[in-house]
């Protein structure tokens, strides 16, 4: 991993299978999540992470390994990525991983990445900037910290990799601008959607991928400590879930075919009643 000289760039890309969140709702009567019929997709941000890894491999050589933690059906997501041209797919799947929060998740993933690192070089760990179901963005930085890799989040553009110097230079998107960072390899990156355009997998590649193996690893395969996994290993607890606080539907001020000027006048009257006043009424 901390190789003296590099001649290629190998990456582990962390991907998550997520429900299409636009279709997830809370049952107002029972308060439970309605997940029935909600399709699973690959977290869209993670596809940009895969693309970034593939571009680097095509330029520098090396291997791209996709790593996912989830139930057995997450294999389907990894198989799709094999069709995109990744070299290796690993699924971490074990009931003991279930219920993990981000701290336990990064522990499990870091165990798997350390195992991969015994088999092949790992120069980069690449994640999407966040998942669309959890939206936390915590796994990438957490992994960087656990692995002791340089931490580069919200990367919006990869500038260059200097193999000889063992550094990566990349642009990071901040609220107030963009910064060019130079990081020692190995590094852990989280990638924004503006970083690249996702390639389309050719149908023959997708078909060929259906024969490629997805390696499935359990807790013992990665040598993880069960006490640090799942609910036991997760400091956070979900106390309750509920439907988002809804604002009440208010008053419709217009009438069909009515004069817009009347609606505008009525609106200004109503704002005045709410203490949102025109200066003239100010005492």
């Amino acid at each position: 991993m901390n190789r003296e000289t590099r001649s290629s760039i190998s990456s582990v890309v962390c991907v998550k299978q997520v429900p299409d969140t636009t279709q997830v709702r809370v049952d107002p009567d029972t308060g439970s999540l309605i997940r029935k019929g909600v399709p699973s997709i690959i977290n869209p941000f993670d596809l940009h992470a895969v693309e970034a890894a593939l571009v680097l491999r095509d330029k520098f050589g090396g291997q791209v390994t996709a790593l996912s933690m989830g139930p057995p059906q997450a294999e389907e997501a990894l198989r799709k990525l094999l069709g995109f041209g990744i070299d290796r797919a690993v699924l971490l799947s074990d009931r003991a991983f279930g219920g993990s929060d981000t701290l336990a998740t990064t522990y499990a993933l870091s165990c798997a990445i350390k195992k991969i690192a015994t088999q092949q070089p790992v120069d980069l760990v690449i994640c999407g900037k966040q998942s669309i179901d959890g939206d936390t963005g915590q796994v990438g930085p957490g992994l960087a910290h656990r692995l002791g890799f340089s931490q580069l989040t919200y990367i919006c553009s990869l500038q260059e990799i200097d193999l000889e110097a063992g550094v990566i230079r990349a642009w990071r998107q901040r609220e107030d601008g963009r910064e060019l960072l130079e990081a020692k390899l190995p590094a852990a990156l989280t990638i924004t959607e503006t970083c690249n355009q996702i390639r389309y997998a050719a149908l023959p590649d997708l078909i060929a991928a259906s024969d490629k193996p997805v390696e499935v690893w359990n807790v013992d395969d990665v040598g993880a400590d069960r006490a640090l996994l799942g609910i036991k290993g997760s400091p956070t607890r979900v106390k309750r879930i509920f439907a988002p606080p809804a604002r009440q539907r208010g008053e419709i001020l217009s009438t069909p075919g009515g004069d817009p000027a009347d609606a505008a006048a009525l609106l200004m009257d109503r704002l005045g009643e709410r203490d949102i006043r025109l200066g003239g009424s100010r005492v």
Partner: protein, 404 residues
Amino acid sequence: MSDNVRSETDDSPKKAAAKKGRRGRGATKPGDIWVVVENEGGTAGRVSWELLGKAAGLAADLGSRPAVVILGEDDERLAREAFSYGARVAYIASHPSLTPFTADPHCRALSQLARKYKPEAILLGATTRGRDLASAVATDLKTGLTADCTSLEIDEETGLLKQTRPAFGGNIMATIISPDTRPQMATVRPGVFPLPEIIESAEGEIVSTKPRLGDDLPVRQLEFIPNPSDAVSLQGAKAVIAGGRGMKKAGNFALLEELAAELDGTVAASRGAVDAGWISHQRQVGQTGQTVRPVLYIAVGISGAIQHVAGMQESDIVIAINNDPDAPIFDVADFGIVGDLFETIPALIAEIRKRKTAGGAALDFTAGEPSVLKKAGKGAGKAPTEDAENTPDETPRDALGGGE
């Protein structure tokens, strides 16, 4: 495996907590509530003071103190500013490696402070910087972290920090606790909490520390290109006039600018308008944009997808203008006008001008500070849909507290 990979000698969170001894619960005095100041060259990000206002309330409920952490240079001026916003203590960690911000030295400095002074909770802005730092520190301290909280409360019975956040793109809300580990960590987006009042004469205690950091940083900043100067912050705007796909083209946003000028407001947009390329991403309100809480929010030609509503539902008064009577935006609007926006907006501008001529002054938002308005009766509409209990086991918690 090279020695570059940190060895995993962690204890489980529970064991770690047991070792440290359980705090809170009245057995021992609860620790302070910390806010990490977004320190950009001696200027604090507004979100820091928003969080400090919240921290003061939490500390009062808990019987502890609100405190700030200033990482960077030894800057007492920033500490004094923090006192005026309600901090009682300012921990300053100064080291050349902390400027400009990179995650690793900030993580080490904050972790060292937390291990030494044992805060009850640490709050950070859910910004690119705050999220970066919080995740690393929570991993280092093996403690719970909840991202993007929209509500923070102290549980009366247990003294635990109840952290409520949206998940699944805003389709559900989850309340998260970290019962066994300290500090309890949370990030909060800018604009979620109001700015506290300034008390100029307020004083506090300054604790100056020198973190143990090397000079050999894993990440270095080579260059910074600030956003163009016409970039706007929607935070703090009293009136936000947002346009959506109904605006039809970029040029039509001039109409909203005209209305904004009359209301002394700021123009914003939905994701639809941003994706269409009509307006900059920096003006986007919603799940993947900014969260705003103005006195007046006018949604023009916006359908009102839940991802958009998530970014503006804390506004005091919402006005929706849309030609589709079934648009969901009307479900969250105090006042709706069903009609052609290209007729309605000019009519509204004309009406405001007419009243200004009659009355003399601009729309007065100072009378409508959020707290005043809520007491005036609006708040009733925002009662959460009580009280859908659910057990964690039924919940895919990776998507609630965890996940990527």
